[in-house]
């Protein structure tokens, strides 16, 4: 059976909001992540790092979560940077060209550094 605890950890440092996600990001689980990011944006947080290390699976509904917020965060000087993506998850981003749209970093430290520049 699949383990479906999607948001495994959330922490903030300065103006960064780091969300560690795990399990399976599909049409069923996407809504909770979309709402969570939406709530953070509502509080004025626009700089996100999504830690994909524990994410096993993503479908187009999962890609849609980030698409629905990327314009607003970038308009406000922020971004949604991604890191620690497993190869099988990256391949779904790559399949449709989403890897060009997003800043996908190899490691967390790289994502943090890009925000500090």
């Amino acid at each position: 059976m699949e383990n479906n605890k999607l948001i495994s950890n959330i922490y903030s440092g300065g103006d960064l909001t780091i969300i560690a996600i795990g399990g399976y990001l599909d049409a069923h689980t996407a809504t909770s992540l979309e709402q969570f990011i939406g709530t953070e944006i509502g509080k004025g947080n626009y700089k996100f790092i999504i830690d994909f290390a524990e994410l096993e699976y993503i479908s187009s509904a999962g890609l849609g979560v980030f698409m629905s917020h990327i314009e607003e965060v970038r308009e406000n000087g922020g971004d949604i940077k991604m890191c620690n993506m497993q190869k099988k998850v990256y391949s779904v981003f790559d399949l449709l060209g989403f890897h060009v749209l997003y800043d996908i970093c190899k490691e967390m430290s790289e994502a943090k550094e890009k925000f500090s520049n």
């Binding site: 599909d26 479908s59 698409m67």
Partner: protein
């Protein structure tokens, strides 16, 4: 709840919560068929996308509606047949999106069929008719 009929057939209701069991079902049957890991991941994603669309647009999240998912092996192929009773919709007739426009407009959603077309080896569609009330979507992966 999904229901398993025999080894190779699963019934799922019109709810996204069924997707997890649908993926488990496809994973186990695709593995047993001898597909490699990369192809197993692809057919799981294709079936997830197809079923997500059917749950939304054909079953309209109605828990009384069902889709039936069957798996078949032939010598070098693994085929998943997804049956629904909604309005026929042939994914082969759905135009592919212009991805640069899609990104420019920061759209969200509507990529499921495009993904399926990118990752499976063959898509066939048999709409319902007077002899059979079910639409059938056949997604085939070649093992070689």
């Amino acid at each position: 709840m999904t229901k398993l009929f025999g080894n190779n057939e699963l019934k799922a209701k019109g709810d996204y919560s069924e997707l997890s069991e649908i993926r488990d079902f496809i994973r186990s049957r695709a593995f047993a068929s001898g597909l490699d890991t990369e192809k197993i991941d692809k057919i799981i994603l294709a079936v997830d996308e197809a079923c997500s669309n059917l749950i939304h647009y054909s079953m309209k999240f109605n828990h009384r509606e069902n889709i039936t998912i069957e798996c078949f092996n032939k010598k070098d192929t693994f085929t998943v047949i997804i049956k629904d009773n909604g309005t026929p919709f042939d994914p082969n007739k759905n135009p592919s999106p212009d991805m640069s426009e899609y990104f420019k407009k920061c759209k969200s959603g509507g990529l499921g069929i495009h993904i399926i077309k990118q990752i499976v080896d063959k898509i066939e569609y048999l709409p319902s008719d007077s002899s059979d009330p079910s639409n059938k979507l056949l997604l085939t992966m070649c093992s070689k």
